[in-house]
Symmetry: C2
Subunit: 324 residues, 2 copies
C-alpha cells in the first residue's frame, strides 16, 4: 500500500468534519487552515511517543491510538482549553493494514470523545513513533498557566494517583496472558494506563478559579515542582491526603504512596486555587478534586513539613536520565 492510499483509507475518515468547527481546510493541501474566532486564543501542544520508550514494543495499536491522543489532549485540559483539531506525524516500519486499522480506530474513538478533528499530518517510513500536535481554543487571557500559584493557595489533584504507574508491573505479563487471568484490581490499573481520560471538563471548569494547573504525566512531585518553579513559590503536601484508589492500596499495600508520589501516566490535574475560590466553586467540580496541601512562600517542596531534597525524589520521568 502506498502512502497516499494509506492516508486515504485510514486517515481521511478521521478528517471528516462533523458539525460546527473551526477547520477551514483539512488534510490534502500544503497546509491546514484554522479560523480562530476573535476573542479566542489558539492553544497548542506537541507530544512524541516512541516505541520502547513511551509505550511497550508490540503495543496494541488501538490502545496506542487512544493513549497517544489522550496524552497530548491532557495538555489542553491543563490550560483549561477546549480541543478543536490535531495533526499526526506517524512513522512506521511498514504499511501494515491490520495495524493501521486498529490504530486509526483507537485514534478516531479518542478524537470523537475529546471533540478533535484531524487537520493534517505526515506519514513516513522508519522506526515506530508518532508525534501529535493538539490545538484548542480558550477565551483571551483565560488560560491557566503554571506561573500563577500564590502563597496560601490550596493544592488539589483530581481523581486518584499512582494507578497507571502500577500498571507497568503487569504490562509484560499482559502480552502473553488471557485478559481473564488478571484480577479486578490489576485490570483496573491496567485500564488506567491504556485508557487515560484527559480532564477536559475539569480544566475548563477551573477557568477563573485556579491560579495554576498542570497535568500529571511525570509524577506528582515532578509536575508540582514545575508549578512551584514557574510561580517562584513553595508548597507543603500532606501525604496522607493524596488520593489513592482502593485497587492500588490492595495491590501495593504501603508501597501505594510511592506510586502516587512518583509515577506518572495518570493524566490527572494538579492545580492551585485560592481558598475563597475553592469555597465558592461548584460542588460538582469540588467533588472531583482532593485538597492535598498548600502553597507557601518559602521555595521548595515539602512532604508533611520535611523538605524533599533528593533529585531523584522530584524529577519523575526524564527521558535523557532514564536507564532504558
Amino acid at each position: 500500500m502506498g502512502e497516499f492510499e494509506l492516508i486515504r483509507q485510514f486517515f481521511m475518515p478521521l478528517a471528516r468534519l462533523h458539525g460546527p468547527h473551526s477547520i477551514i481546510v483539512g488534510p490534502g493541501d500544503d497546509c491546514a487552515i484554522q479560523r480562530v474566532p476573535s476573542g479566542s486564543d489558539l492553544v497548542f501542544s506537541l507530544d512524541t511517543l516512541v516505541e520502547g520508550v513511551h509505550f511497550p514494543f508490540h503495543y496494541r495499536p488501538d490502545y496506542l491510538g487512544w493513549r497517544a491522543l489522550a496524552v497530548a489532549t491532557s495538555d489542553l485540559a491543563a490550560m483549561g482549553a477546549d480541543p478543536t483539531s490535531y495533526t499526526l506525524a506517524l512513522t512506521l516500519p511498514e504499511a501494515d493494514e491490520s495495524w493501521l486499522r486498529g490504530f486509526a480506530c483507537g485514534l478516531g474513538k479518542a478524537a470523537d470523545a475529546f471533540g478533535l478533528v484531524l487537520a493534517g499530518g505526515d506519514t513516513t517510513r522508519g522506526p515506530l513513533a508518532l508525534s501529535l500536535q493538539v490545538h484548542g481554543l480558550i477565551p483571551r487571557g483565560a488560560a491557566i498557566l503554571r506561573s500563577g500559584a500564590r502563597p496560601g493557595d490550596l493544592v488539589a489533584v483530581s481523581g486518584t494517583l499512582g494507578d497507571a504507574g502500577a500498571a507497568l508491573d503487569y504490562l509484560g505479563a499482559q502480552a502473553c496472558s488471557d485478559p481473564q487471568s488478571f484480577s479486578a484490581d490489576e485490570a483496573f490499573v491496567l485500564k488506567r494506563y491504556h485508557h487515560p481520560e484527559p480532564r477536559l471538563e475539569l480544566g475548563a471548569g477551573l477557568r477563573g478559579l485556579a491560579t495554576a494547573a498542570i497535568d500529571i504525566s511525570d509524577g506528582l512531585l515532578a509536575d508540582l515542582s514545575h508549578i512551584l518553579e514557574a510561580s517562584s513559590v513553595g508548597a507543603n503536601i500532606e501525604v496522607a491526603r493524596i488520593p489513592v484508589s482502593a485497587a492500588l492500596k490492595r495491590l501495593k499495600g504501603t508501597g501505594a504512596r510511592d506510586y502516587a508520589l512518583h509515577s506518572g501516566d495518570d493524566y490527572e490535574l494538579c492545580v492551585t486555587i485560592p481558598e475563597a475560590n475553592w469555597t465558592g466553586a461548584p460542588p460538582s467540580l469540588k467533588q472531583q478534586f482532593t485538597v492535598i496541601g498548600v502553597i507557601e512562600e518559602a521555595p521548595g517542596l515539602r512532604l508533611d513539613g520535611a523538605a524533599v531534597v533528593s533529585e531523584s525524589d522530584t524529577l519523575g520521568f526524564d527521558h535523557f536520565r532514564r536507564k532504558s
Copy 2:
C-alpha cells in the same frame, strides 16, 4: 545532560521573542498560546524527517537544522502565508552536546531568516528523527489552495528544478571528502540540497494572482499532479521550457531533464495563474518564474502533448513504495 537542561541550554534561546509577534506563551508551560489577529486565518503544516530516509546517516547537524525548518516552511510559502512560529519534536539516541549545538545553530539561523519563533516542543530518546510544525498567518480567504486551477491558466515554476536531486549523487562522496574537492557545479547543487530556501516572498506575492500553488518536494510531475487532481483539470507542459540551471546541464547533460521532471528537494513553487493576472503581475515577481505550460480541461498530465501514463513517471517520492 538531562532533558530539562538540554532544553534550557539549546532550545530556550530559540524561543526568545524579538520584536512584535503573536506568541503569548512560548515553551515551558503545558501548551503554547498564539493570538491570531482578527481578519487572519491560522495556517499550519507538520513534517517529519527520519535519519536514513529523509536525510543521510551522520548528516551535519547544522545542515539538518536549517533543512528541516526550510522544508516545513516551504509549505507555508505554497499557501502564500506569513510564518509566525514553529514547534519541534526531536527524538535523539543520546544527548550529544556537540550535535545539539550544531543543530540548534542551523535551526536558529533558518528561523531568523524565515521570521519564525520556537513556540514549544518535545525532546525524547529514540532513533534520530524530528517533526516540525510551522504556523503562519494569512488574511482570511487569501490562502492559495491546490484546488483552484482552471483551464487556460498558465503553469509556472520558480527558480530552477532538479539541482537538489542531482546533489544526492554527491552526498556519499561528501561524507569523506574535503569541501575543496568538489567542482563549482557540484558545490552548487549540493548547496541546493543542504540549504533550501522556501519561497516565502514569492508565495505572499502570488496572493490574489495565483489560482493554485504547491511546493515541489516530490518532483515536478508528482506535485503538479496533486494540483491537477485537486482542481479536476489536466495540463500540458512544454519540457524544453522547464528551467534548468547551467550547473545541472553541465553535470548531467541530456539527463538534466529527468532530474528536473522527477526529483524533489528543490522546494521551488509550482503555480497556476490566469493569463491576465500573469500579464499584470509585478515584473519583480514575474522574473522569478518561468511559464512552462497551460492548464487544460482534459484530465491528465501531458508532456509536449503526450500523456504521462506510467505511474512511476508521476508519483515521485512515496515513502511506502520506495525501496530503502
